[in-house]
Every structure is written in C-alpha cells, then in structure tokens.
Subunit: 367 residues, 2 copies
C-alpha cells in the first residue's frame, strides 16, 4: 500500500460513501467534483478564485499539455503544481480519450496510437509508457492509465478496446515509477454488463490506489449509465476511491454518488458559463435571454457565491451582450460553486444519515 495515498471511509449510506483520500498536496474529501483545467488553467478564473470557491482537486489534460507547452518544459519549471499555481491536488488524464476523439486524425495499433496535433498538424505517438512518462513529468497527484474509449453500443469494438485497455493498464503499472503519484486504472466495456463486470474485475486485480470508470456519458442513455455504474460498484473494492470520468451534470453527480462513485470531473460548468448558461438546482438559466434585462435579482437567491452575492441578472445579461469577459468569469464562479456546494451537501447528508431525504428533495426540484 502506498503510504501517500491512504483512503479513509468516514461513512456510508447504502452504496453512497463519504471518505478522505490523502495525497501529497492535501486531502480530497469525497464525494467530490473536480473542475477541469485542460491547458493548466480552469478557464475564466484565477487559482485564487478557485480557492475561494473551496475547490480542491483540479484536472488537467495530458494531451494538451504534452503538445503545448510540453511536459519537459513544465517539469523543468518545477512541475504542474508550480506552473499553474495550484498547490492542492491535481489529476491528469492519460491523453487516451482526447486522442481517440481525434477520429480521422489518429491510428491505433497494439503498441499505441499515432495522431495528428490539432494545433499544427504535426504527427505524434502516445503509448502506455509515454503517457506515464509525460504524466510523471507533469507531476499530478493522481495519474491515469492509458486506455481506449470505444463507442458505447458497438460490442465487437468494445471487446477489442477492453482487451487493449487491460493490456495497456498492465504496461502502465510497469512503467510507473514515482511513488508520490497514484496511478488509477480505468474500467471500460461500453453498455455491456458482462464486459463491465469482466473489466472491473481485471482492473480491481491490479490493486492500484484507485479505480476509474471510463466510456460513460458518451452517447448512452442515463438508464444504461446507471446500470453500468451498478455493475462496476459491485466489483470494485470498496476501500479505494472510484472516479467516474467526464460526468458533471448535477443529476448525474447525485446518481453517481448513489451508485458508489467518489470522484467526478467535467468541463460542463466552465463550458456552460462561456455559453451564457447558469446551473441551478432546478435546471439551467440562459442569461442571454431578454427576460433578464431588467431583473435585479441574482441567479439564485440562496447562493452564497461572489456572483450571486453581488450581481444582478440584468448586469450579467448586459455583460453577455457587450461580449465582456467578466460574464464568463462570473458565470464560471457561480456554476462551480453550485456543483461544489452540491457535493458538500451530499457529503454532509451521508454523514448525517439524511441522504434519502436530500436526494428526494433534489430530484423533486429537477425540471
């Protein structure tokens, strides 16, 4: 057991859990939502603003940072924590998902993936070994195995991708050297319960400090996602954190927690903010809409974020129409606050034994 990465379970309620994951850069109180800082910055906010929101774990993208500014450069500048001035825990993905998303601009073989840069069209190659080497250069607290994410409904493809993901996970384990980084394996298998079962068993057997669930929220139905989470929840060890990759809508966070998930990340709150949408407990509000032009109220009366404490919907709409950057900043602050507060309330309700009431009220308010 890696002494850097102890996971303490504090309380459970059915499948939901509250825990603390210790990392070299501080404790992660789970269940948690991690904002995404693709290019070593959570878009539209400063680290100081993120800290004020109470964020702890932040995600950064290996694919993007490898291409620009380069992982060796970040290493020579003291690593990602210093580079982006986030002294709290960081997680890097493996680059796998991004590379597979390049569709026509990549070619997969058993060894790895050759792909064309989205920046300058240059050719590059990622393998399990190079992904780990890059992530060791970046120096995040949690790093991810290099996996293949297949289209959810294609059984034959999912069988091949799962087998490759497993073989690559073993190579990642072998390649990984830094003991101050926790390597998580990734469960694949599309929407096929037997494949998910098989994959979770294989990944669990690697005995890593944490396990992730990939290939969900990529086109399948909510019911299918929930069914897959239930299969995996029954297999993955309870004494280690589970990370559901790329999921961040409020209802998905609640549904994930109810099915044993501890860690979530998603670009949703920051991306919606740049597209004028505010996340609330009862749905989204498009602040560009003319209905807000004379409205002196904040986005949410009950919200304690800087945006809601100070600014009217009328002002936010004005900033959006005037194409002012402050619109994205203020909406990002609000959207992150909404998800971080939701997770905080979920943690508290699990501790208090009131999760059933909490979730009943939560779903009653969904539009």
């Amino acid at each position: 057991m890696n002494p850097h990465f102890n996971f303490e379970l504090k309380a459970t309620h059915n499948h939901a859990r509250v825990g603390v994951f210790h990392t070299p850069h501080g404790d992660i109180h789970t269940p948690i939502f991690a904002p995404v800082g693709t290019q070593a910055t959570v878009k539209s906010v400063t680290p100081a603003q993120l800290e004020e929101l109470g964020a702890s774990l932040v995600l950064a993208n290996t694919y993007h940072l490898y291409l620009r500014p380069g992982d060796a450069r970040i290493a020579s500048l003291g690593g990602l924590h210093r580079f982006m001035q986030w002294p709290h825990p960081i997680l890097t993905d493996s680059g796998g998902y991004q590379v597979f998303s390049l569709a026509d601009n990549r070619k997969i073989d058993e060894e790895g993936v050759t792909f064309k840069s989205h920046i300058d069209g240059s050719f590059h190659r990622l393998t399990p070994e190079s992904s780990i080497a890059i992530q060791e250069n970046l120096g995040a607290d949690i790093i991810m195995a290099f996996d293949e994410c297949a289209p959810p409904y294609d059984r034959a493809y999912n069988e091949r991708a799962m087998a490759r993901t497993h073989a690559w996970a073993e190579r990642c384990v072998k390649a990984h050297q830094r003991s101050d980084q926790a390597l998580f394996g990734i469960v694949q298998g599309g929407i096929f319960p037997d494949l998910r079962q098989q994959s979770a068993e294989f990944i669990a057997a690697l005995n890593l400090p944490g396990n992730a669930i990939g290939g969900l929220s990529v086109g399948e139905t909510k019911a299918e996602m929930h069914a897959m989470l239930e299969v995996v929840d029954g297999v993955l060890p309870k004494e280690k954190p589970r990370y559901l990759m790329g999921v961040g809508a409020p209802e998905d966070l609640v549904n994930g927690v109810l099915r044993g998930v501890d860690i979530f990340d998603c670009v949703l709150p920051t991306r919606l903010a740049r597209h004028h949408a505010a996340i609330t407990r009862s749905g989204r509000i498009n602040l560009a809409n003319a209905i807000h032009q004379d409205d002196p109220r904040p986005i949410m009366e009950s919200c304690t974020c800087y945006t809601c404490q100070r600014f009217s919907r009328a002002y936010l709409r004005h900033l959006i129409l005037a194409k002012e950057m402050l619109a994205a900043t203020l909406l990002t602050i609000h959207n992150l606050q909404t998800l971080l507060m939701l997770m905080k309330e979920i943690r508290q309700s699990i501790m208090d034994g009131t999760l059933d009431t909490f979730t009943a009220q939560f779903f009653a308010r969904q539009e």
Copy 2:
C-alpha cells in the same frame, strides 16, 4: 461650493500637488490613475480584484452605456454604482469624444450631434442637455461637460470647436441638477497656446468643482502636450482638481503630475494586457515572445501584484499561446498595479519632498 466635493490640497512641490477629492462614494487621493470600465466593467477583472489592487476612481463611458444597456435601465436598477458593483467613486465622460470618433457616422450642428450606433446602425442624437440627463441617470460622482474634440493641428477647426465647447459647457451647467454629482468643464484648443489660455480662462470662470483638459494625446507630440499642460496649469484654479483625459502611459503620468495634473484615465493598461504586453517601469514586455517560454521569473521581481507574486513569464506565455482568458486577467492585474503603484509613489514623494529624486530615477530607467 458643493459640500459633497471638497478638494483638500495636502502638499505641493513646484507644480505637482497631492490632494484629497471628497465624493459621495469616498475619497480620491490625487494624483490618481483611473482604470477605464467602458461598458460598466474594467475589462478582464472583477470589482473584487480591482479593490485588491487599491483602485478607487473608475471611469465608464456614457456613449456605450446610453446605447447598451441604456441609461434609464441602469437608473431603474439603482444606478451605475450598484449595477457594476463599484461602491467607490465613478466618473462618466460625456459621450462627446466617442461620438466625434465616429467620423463619417456623425453630423455636428450648434444644437448637438446626430450619430449612427456602432452596434446596430440606428440613429441617435446627443446634446449637452441629453448628455447631462444620461449622466444623471447613470449617477457617477464626477460627470463631464459635452465637448467637441478637434484634430490638434487644425487652427480654424479648433477655434470653432472651442467656441462650441464653451457654449455647450454653459448649457451643461444649466441642465445639471443633481447636487451629488460634480460636473467638470473641459478645456480644448488643440496645440495652440492662445486658444488653450482662452479656453482655460472660460472654463475656470464657470466655477465648477473640477476642470478637465481634453483634446490631448490625440496625435500631437509629447513636447506639444507638455506645453499645453503648462499653459493650462497657469490658468486653472489651484484649489480644484485637474483631470487630463485619456492619458495613461507611465511617462505621461509623471509628466502630467509635474505640470499640475491630479486625475488621469486611460484604456492603455487594460488594452495592452489583452494584447500580451506588460507595463514595467523601464518599458513594455511582450509576453507572447518566445524568449519567455522557459523563464521562471515573474514579469517584475519587485512587483507585489498577484500575478508577479505567483506566476512565471513561462506560464503567462503559455496562456497567451493557448488563447486562455487568464492571460488577459493576469496581465491586466499587473498593468493596473504598475500604474496605481506609480501614482502612490508619486504621492508619497510629493509628501516627502523627494519628487525631484523620484522623477530623475524614473526617467533614467525609461528605455
């Protein structure tokens, strides 16, 4: 004398002065630099970040806010201070300069100006009376007379524009009603000493709580600007603040203070930030340049701003290349800090009687 707007002179050194201008939203310690918030936001930063920088007076633009979101709307939302959440002093310009900048899209007559909106091409009319009415709706602490800014070298045009500016200033005085707003007159006259003398005498005779100098930094040489400031300095009353409009380069601030100016505003620090340039005491640095790509140093070792305390030049360059909004935010913070600190040091050196040493050292460091 308006009891809301007392100006206390604290110290002088030759023509340079330190004072306090009292306003309903707090004291302005002069000489001061006012960041520009054209559309009711200082671009790329939050009011909280501005406050942390120690900004006090902020400028907003009547032309822009009249067109969008509309001054009546801002009034019904509680005025500009509440709308943009800046509880400190605000100054609005009259819209004159913006309208005259529209060139082919405006027509001037003795009554006022008809112009075409840059947003939707609709036609509008501004007169001295409507400019004051709009500024009363906005509710800034300092409002400006509606003036005409002529090309600096055209004598005949400057004679006409000055006469019109004087007639309009008298109409503004008559139209102005709110006693919680200080109306400033504006001296025009291009680069012609006799016109500047005549204009300063006329504007001073209006006996307003403050006086402004317009039509400079619009194409004339530095020597010509300095000469005009010296003419005006000799005429305007010493017991009232003087505001040099649209000037913000560090050397221009120092040169203005040496010629009796108390208030400055300019988009320079915020605009340069969006174009990757950092202002330092010894010139500008373009952070997009490849020379910075591995540089772990901050923009300025001696700078105490958030950006310089935390982030490397290498990181700033990365953000610029990655087109991340955080680049503009961090550079805006640094650029505003540089100008605000410069003014603070100038105030202190006038108080201490060390302004000569300060300015000698300042100019020795200019590239």
